[in-house]
Symmetry: C2
Subunit: 115 residues, 2 copies
């Protein structure tokens, strides 16, 4: 094997349905970067309607508003993250990093027979 | 929301390609239960050829044999897990349980604003 055995972990947040995961996180980060949901979707080669559905589903599931319109300014209308969106992104990233650090701390012992 | 926000974690093992994850683990557990790869695949509504490919890929990636033929006996030929397969299943389950327990221990604090 050309690369050492290692774990890849994914964490998703659910209520009775999926609320939040790597895909929503990436989309929100790109809204922040591009200043609009349409540009964010385009940068991920995702249909705008799909991006809109993903955001609305996460908002409904978490019961918070994640994106707000930013009207006016030199670029005209756009979208930006709400404070709650920044909070969930920050919490998700912190949680994900702690999980990975924990995994790293036990992996070699758990899989010693396969390394 | 009808159910409290919670995390669902998945862990997969990689080298330079995917080696092992929930799907392989379930297939191997069903080989153990059913005594043949064909019956195991059928019980998961999976084509035998796909099951075979999944096992061969995991064997190649981990560089161990996971399934051996069990010929003869009252049920004729079949398949059973090797000791190495039992070891990886056991290690994977132990690792997965520890990850989930760790996640449970930090989740409420990390996502306090969304609970």
């Amino acid at each position: 094997m050309s690369q050492k055995l290692h774990a890849v972990i994914s964490a998703r947040l659910f209520t009775d349905q999926k609320c939040f995961g790597p895909g929503v996180a990436e989309l929100l980060n790109r809204v922040e970067e591009h200043g609009s949901l349409r540009s964010a979707a385009k940068s991920m080669e995702m249909a705008y309607s799909k991006a809109w559905t993903i955001v609305k589903n996460a908002e409904s599931c978490l019961d918070v508003k994640l994106i707000e319109s930013s009207t006016g300014g030199k670029n005209g209308g756009g979208a930006r993250l709400t404070d709650k969106a920044r909070q969930i992104l920050s919490a998700y990233e912190s949680y994900r990093k702690k999980l990975i650090a924990f995994s790293d701390s036990i992996f070699n012992e758990e899989f010693a027979d396969f390394l």
